[in-house]
Amino acid sequence: MPTPLSAMRLSRAALVLCIAAANATPVFAVDPATPAERGHYLALAGDCAACHSAPGGKPMAGGLAISTPIGAIVSSNITPSKTHGIGNYTFEQFSDALRKGVRADGARLYPAMPYTAYAKVSDDDVKALYAYFMGEVAAVDTAPPATDLPFPFDIRLSMAAWNLLFLDDKPFVPDAARSAQWNRGAYLVQGLAHCGTCHTPRNLLMAEKSTQALAGADIAPWQAPNITSDAFSGVGGWSEQELTGYFQHGEAKGKAQAAGPMAEAIDDSLSHLTDADRQAIAAYLLGAPARRDPNDTRAAYAWGEPGGDVDSVRGVPWPTDRDQLTGPQLYDAHCATCHGASGQGSFEGGLPSLFHNSALGRMDTSNLVMVILDGVHRGGDGGGVQMPAFANQLSDTQLATLGNWLLQHYGRPQAVISVAQVARSRTAATSASLIWMARAGLGAVVLLLMIAIAVGARHLRRRRQAGT
């Protein structure tokens, strides 16, 4: 039976909701749920589980080995275990790990942990996250294997210099000239959702290039495309509805479908956000500075038309050397079943067409190769989208033949796939989907050690003198 106090709380919460709804989304969403519940939501937005929950392991208990050329970085146990996790962390220690990349024992984290993005998270939100991790996550008293990189890559202190150069630890400041919704989107994209971690290209020292924010980056074996507001190179031609639909369901008909690491981001994070937050992210992207690649003469989803040449393979026996199978023969056997004899997909695009599909519309063909190798898997085991993986059915030669034929007939005819490229993607693909982050971090370490700390300090002195 509701007490007068709880009734007051309820009606106050309802009032807050009404105000919130009436004013569009404030920058820092005031949510009637408890701090721990809000922290749960924020942990979904930040997708902590992507690295800190290993497949088959307990939630947030770490143990995901991100393999890199110089060894594995293993995600840590961030359950509130007092013996093996963060159970003894004070709020300050939690905040420093999250926003400064410093562990409770003072050691630096590698930027495989995107603390450079989380630096933007507000104090209130970090408090909620702390409440969630300490109060709601089940403690797991086992340690994942420690990250044990060979010398000299095990010197974490070098990250201190890197942070001096590249860590902007100023909190997020809303832009007064923009709407509350845009600012909410900015806060999420730059902070918890850390989109730039994949989508922003990096400099030689593996730091994000802030002038090229969201302009696309190589995350081998995948490519995170340009998601600026440019109409040709980015998402400028998308409607807000198409973007929010993509964030929720992983697809926009006649434009794009999420696969690989982005499919994980949709399943584990973006699909769990509120509609308002997805709209805010969309509004931010559509209003963020546009960056165009001069090679792009139209949007990635504007290439191709129905066609193909399936008639030409009818009644033609297959060559005994299967590497001699032609593009139309390969398409007929492996792809046409779902994507249609003319590349048109199924009625109403439930199974997507291959023309007007950004997967085939980019000069960088990494994602096309990966989708054929790995398939597309969204929506969990029991449902959602399941395009099969063809890694075991196609040789490198066959995949290149098929891919180039697809690009010619349904996609961007100037783009090419080489056999060597397929072979590289295949071996890179055996690692976890988000391994690139470790490479970025490790790349930074490698380069730092090549450039002596003295050089770095000299650079820093020059920057200070230049007043930046």
């Binding site: 008639d311 249609g340 009625f347 199974l351």
Partner: protein, 190 residues
Amino acid sequence: MYDVPAPMDTNGRVDETCQAAARDDGSGSPIALPSRRTVLAGMVSVIAATLIPRASAEVAPNAGRDTFLALSAIIAGPRAVDGPLARRLFDALQEDDPSFAASAGALLDLVNEQHLDSSGLQQALDATHPELAALPRRVASAWFMGIVGKDEKARCVAYESALGSVIVADRLRPPTYAYGPYASWAAQPA
């Protein structure tokens, strides 16, 4: 004057099923309906071809194909237009039987002499010209089923583009092609 029907039924109305298939319903069927221009061009080329004497058994290749197209319009209907598929079918029919073009010429002559149309064709041939009676079925198998030749010599030349599949492409996919995502077949066909 050669009576090559335009895409209308015998009462002069435009065939409604052709119109229905021409609506863009997202089925993405690649076979566009014949425009009148295309059929007219076909008629003109047929007329031109008929100026070549048919007395000899060797018919100039273009004329053979044009005859084939004219017969196809009668047997397979208005969807049997000139194009890559028509060329494939003609080449396959000719390869299966080198006298095909000549027989087709004889059949077309008969059609025009006796003013035969699609509905009376087979009956008339069975009754009066049994030596040509098998020909329309060969043309029909080629266009509707994409199959040329019989028994051990039978060959598939088209499947998805065969008119049997195209005629119902607004409702069905040819077997082996996905109808759509799971459960999409539960809805009433619309």
